[in-house]
Symmetry: C2
Subunit: 209 residues, 2 copies
Amino acid sequence: MTPVTSDSSASSEGTDLPGQLRAAAADVIIERGLGAFSLREVARRADVSHAAPGYHFGDMSGLLTSLAIEGLDTLHRETAAAAAEHVDPLDRLTAVGRAYVKVGREHPAHMEVVFRPDLIDVDHPDMHRCGAQAFGVVLAVVQAIADDRNPDLDVLTAARLCWSAMQGLVQIHPKLGVLDEAMGTSTRSLDDLVADFTRLIVDGIGSRP
Amino acid sequence: MTPVTSDSSASSEGTDLPGQLRAAAADVIIERGLGAFSLREVARRADVSHAAPGYHFGDMSGLLTSLAIEGLDTLHRETAAAAAEHVDPLDRLTAVGRAYVKVGREHPAHMEVVFRPDLIDVDHPDMHRCGAQAFGVVLAVVQAIADDRNPDLDVLTAARLCWSAMQGLVQIHPKLGVLDEAMGTSTRSLDDLVADFTRLIVDGIGSRP
DNA sequence: CCCCACCACTTGACGTTGTCAACCTTCGAC
DNA sequence: GTCGAAGGTTGACAACGTCAAGTGGTGGGG
């Protein structure tokens, strides 16, 4: 019945319905939020019948998983490109962090869906592949820092920390904002927070002078 | 019509329907996941009519918000209690981190809902209050570290980093697990990762000897 | 004793949703 | 000219969230 291919192979242009459905899905998520997401609304925006998304992606999880894979892929490409623009290891780490939150800002629907195991199929092979590629970028940058200044560093753990801090930041940044205005503390932009975090992670918060 | 009180005031015991509904909701989330959450299933488990949850909490967002507030409250109490058990600032930071992931492990439904602005009402006053209290614990511990070893530390930013890292860890830990077995790297438990992260955050990943 | 208002639900209904079977329609191969 | 598949559409179904209206019990005033 349903092919469940989710191919993005629309050779030239114009009639890539899976792609249009992904784009419409991202729009719906941005405008209405993931809580009010609906396949039928996606179909309506793409001007196809209500069952067309199901035909191409099997079910809702299939469509959202496809979106998540796209998100992980651009995350990989953007962070890799940002890292390649700098030679100093610390500059590279900061650039990767900035690229991370930039992807979160420019493709909020994609990034919102990446870490939602209840909505997507986390065992999809492409999820594994793209996730490992993206993590590889962080790993390489941290390795460069270790080579440059701290040969004894546990690179794997440090890379995990960097990823956790960036993802945590993207997730709780809005909440930090309201917390700030409730406590009267100064609000900082995402980019500034990335720079702050990078410096703190590198230097340590308890560095004895 | 609907009271939308969501009071947890069931004086003695036995007939605290809002509390039973919260408990049932947590069970549903744990067993079926947030994606398959349904008010009617909650009502079924509490053995009440399908509209009872709506009567007490207004709508689905009301029930989930109530759950999130409960989660933030136990997060606040558990981390504060853990911090009080140690005097050395570093031990306290590690203990707070462990308490954070412990709450995430023992009350997964509550913690899963805390950072889902699309499902809950993030502007609920109790959300602000409990969130600020919980953040206050982290802030105090980081302040102690600053007093002890690094008077120049930007305490607010450092506390934000700690919270982001912990929350990011809770969120992406399952993904790290599958990444590990895909890359052949060693898998670490959540508690071990907390200890690793704490040490790295304190010492810095680029600490020149 | 009666009545009335209120609380804590229940009942019933409506519109929307995800999913699935069945059905068209176009198109290239044989 | 017929076949078969690709790429959808149509129709149906059960489950869902939400809301208006109804119901039983309880407590207090007259």
